[in-house]
């Protein structure tokens, strides 16, 4: 096979093997000889707008994202094009190869019966209950905690794009690689980015993720003012669908309701004008009929067995806004920042399953005796729940709607101790280390202070110096930090 050498628009030397390795909707993909990057050529002859847009993406937008403070944080979140090339009249983008974690190490069951080892981890493998159950090697599946982390990664990445004024326009499980073994996610196919008012979208999206208003108007001409094309608002719909699918392995709008006898029209209405959330609390007409499912799609395929309320109150509120209030009212959809914040806090409300079942983790359900919703095992042992409060006016502490579950291995971080610290790309190096940990000793739980100078046990009326500890008992109040924004915790005891 011959190697093609050429000079990219930045002046760098680029090489690729002359064989199409994959084809997308718009591009053919070629590999570099050392497999450190790929070159994707657009099949259609280049319009000037496309060229301009690609140049902007590989220069201005890339620099703004990666060469600013916090830039390295984003390297693992995006597979961002680095250069543009022209060859035989076709225009192409140079894109780094995906990280190793995004290729299957074990693949499918029975010594990889589907031969997917080494293939990229397209999200659909993990977002489908029956595919997970029937095909995936258990070592590839991760657990509920890693899936929640995947959602956090995606929400963060989309939030960053939107902050920069960009819309992805084609978020789907094809364009987001995920790794459930580590909880990483990476957004790919960045070259379709939409810049409002400057570069219009050239795709409407991928089925399952296209916003209802886009589907409902897709038969209108592109220039028709009523035609809705992808934007940040439609990205918000796609993001909500992705998060729902990675947590529940089913689609939020695919239920039993028949909208039309013709399957194509039925799809158009069910994903478009008449779309209806399968778990809508009042309108039950689109509930999933478990008899329609393959046996292997259970229990996740059936919302009655795995309701979305499992995700906890913060995420439920956002799902309601995305799929009930905002499904046909785009302006009401939650933003990526809303998802990020709710996911960060929900991750603190996650507790391990006492039986270490396959899913392994679940969100605290606010009951005295929590039971793992995956396998039915009651939580064994005492489970301290730390309710976080913070103060806006001296001495007056208000709840932050943020709880931290205490289990073996849980840590206290600066963003728990102070409400002005937030775990994102701006987190300073000194704030990345834990400041305390929890230890179970002689039948009681203790918080051990490692780095919080102003910690005080308000109930016992004594300071807790660095190196000291405080027992976690029902009703105990502990001031974590006396600094500005410092938090107070109120302890509740659950478990047995």
């Amino acid at each position: 096979m011959s190697t093609v050498n050429l000079t990219a628009d930045s002046g760098r030397e680029i090489a690729f093997l002359d064989e199409v390795k994959a084809s997308g909707a718009m591009k053919d993909i070629y590999f570099s000889p050392d497999r450190s990057y790929v070159v994707g050529f657009f099949r259609d002859p280049p319009a000037n707008a496309l060229k301009d847009r690609l140049r902007d993406i590989v220069t201005r937008y890339r620099e703004n994202l990666f060469e600013k403070e916090g830039g390295t944080f984003w390297r693992s979140h995006f597979c961002w094009p680095t250069d543009t090339v022209t060859h035989n009249g076709r225009i192409g983008v140079v894109v780094p190869f995906y990280e190793k974690a995004f290729f299957f190490e074990h693949g499918s069951k029975n010594n990889d019966m589907l031969k997917i080892r080494g293939k990229d981890k397209e999200g659909k493998w993990f977002a489908s209950a029956s595919n997970r159950e029937k095909f995936l090697d258990p070592r590839e599946k991760g657990n509920w905690l890693t899936h929640m982390r995947i959602c956090l990664s995606i929400a963060r990445a989309v939030r960053r794009l939107h902050m920069a004024g960009l819309a992805h326009s084609d978020l789907s499980y094809k364009n987001v690689l995920v790794d459930p073994t580590t909880g990483k996610a990476c957004i790919i196919d960045i070259d379709g980015l939409v810049v409002p008012g400057k570069y219009p979208p050239d795709v409407v999206g991928t089925p399952d993720f296209i916003a209802p208003e886009v589907i409902a108007t897709q038969s209108l001409s592109r220039d028709d003012p009523k035609r809705v094309l992808p934007s940040r608002t439609t990205d918000r719909h796609a993001l909500a669908v992705l998060i729902y699918m990675y947590l529940f392995y089913r689609h939020p709008l695919r239920g039993r309701k028949v909208f039309d006898q013709d399957p194509t029209k039925d799809e158009e209405l069910g994903m478009g004008r008449q779309a209806l959330f399968v778990e809508h609390p009042r309108d039950t007409s689109n509930r999933v009929n478990p008899d329609d499912l393959r046996l292997q799609a259970l229990p996740w395929g059936d919302p009655a067995q795995r309701p979305y309320t499992m995700a906890g109150p913060l995420l439920v509120d956002l799902f309601n806004r995305a799929f009930i209030d905002g499904l046909h009212a785009p302006e009401k959809r939650p933003s990526p920042a809303d998802w990020e914040s709710a996911l960060v806090r929900t991750l603190d409300m996650v507790q391990p399953c006492s039986a270490k079942c396959e899913m392994g983790w679940y969100v605290f359900d606010n009951s005295r005796l929590p039971v793992c919703p995956h396998c039915g095992t009651p939580y064994r042992g005492e489970l301290p729940v730390l309710n976080l409060y913070s103060s806006r006016t001296a001495g007056n502490y208000l709840p932050d709607n943020h709880r931290l579950m205490v289990w073996d291995g849980q840590s206290l971080f600066p963003w728990h101790a102070n409400r002005t610290v937030y775990p994102n790309e701006h987190l300073e190096e000194r704030h990345k280390r834990r400041v305390g940990y929890f230890q179970f000793h002689a039948g009681d739980w203790y918080l051990v202070n490692e780095a919080l100078p102003g910690m005080r046990d308000l109930t016992g009326k004594r300071d807790v110096p660095v190196g000291g500890n405080v027992k976690l008992a029902e009703g105990a109040q502990i001031l974590l930090s006396s600094e500005d924004g410092g938090r107070l915790v109120q302890v509740q005891m659950a478990g047995s």
């Binding site: 997917i116 789907s172 991928t206 094309l229 399957p263 194509t264 329609d292 499912l293």
Partner: protein
């Protein structure tokens, strides 16, 4: 969950003997292998394979993709190409297999049909009648492949929405053909453009698309 039923009609007349039929066998392996690496196809695709020479035979009855076991397809030493008879058999099966939507339950997607032949139908009158019937069944897409120098695209055009021509009948040409067919089947899951509606994915260089 809606199913996508895929029907493959493969010519096994005498002229396919030798390298061509071996290439078709290898091509079918490629097709099923490629589809099994597609998580979307695994959820939806069910497949039937019908061969035709002097008689039409169902070599793979409707089977979910993951359970398909491909038999070794063979050819008689010589003999006619009864494509009309194959269509007749296909028509009966499709009417039986496809679950239609009702007011209360969702049915299957409109099925796909692929027809590959290297000659012209010997049962020309029956073929003509059956073409008209098959066109009314409601296939989502019918793709025909005229393989080798003797196959005539005009014959297939009466039946198919798209006809491709395979100039050579060696294994690499068939491998590319079946890979392309797998892409058509899995196409529903790809990004959709803002302009044209349902386009076929681009065929490989060896195939010429005739409209």
């Amino acid at each position: 969950m809606r199913r996508l039923l895929v029907y493959l009609l493969l010519d096994t007349s005498g002229s396919m003997a030798g390298e061509p039929i071996e290439a078709v066998n290898a091509g079918m392996e490629t097709l099923v292998g490629a589809l099994r690496q597609d998580p979307y196809a695994l959820e939806t695709v069910h497949m039937t394979v019908i061969t035709f020479d002097a008689e039409a035979k169902t070599v793979v009855p409707l089977t979910p993709l993951e359970d398909v076991v491909l038999p070794q397809i063979t050819t008689p030493r010589s003999g006619p190409t009864h494509l009309g008879a194959a269509l007749e058999m296909l028509g009966q099966q499709v009417r039986q297999d496809v679950v239609r939507s009702t007011d209360t339950a969702k049915g299957d997607w409109a099925p796909y049909l692929f027809v590959m032949t290297d000659g012209k139908p010997s049962d020309i009158q029956l073929y003509g009648e059956q073409c008209a019937k098959i066109r009314r069944v409601g296939f989502g897409s019918i793709v025909g492949c005229a393989a080798g120098p003797k196959a005539r695209e005009e014959d297939l055009r009466a039946l198919c929405d798209h006809v491709v021509r395979l100039d050579t009948m060696d294994s690499s040409a068939f491998a590319k053909l079946f890979k392309w067919v797998s892409e058509i089947i899995a196409h529903g899951n790809k990004s959709q453009g803002t302009t044209a509606a349902a386009d076929l994915p681009p065929p490989p260089a060896e195939i010429n698309l005739v409209f």
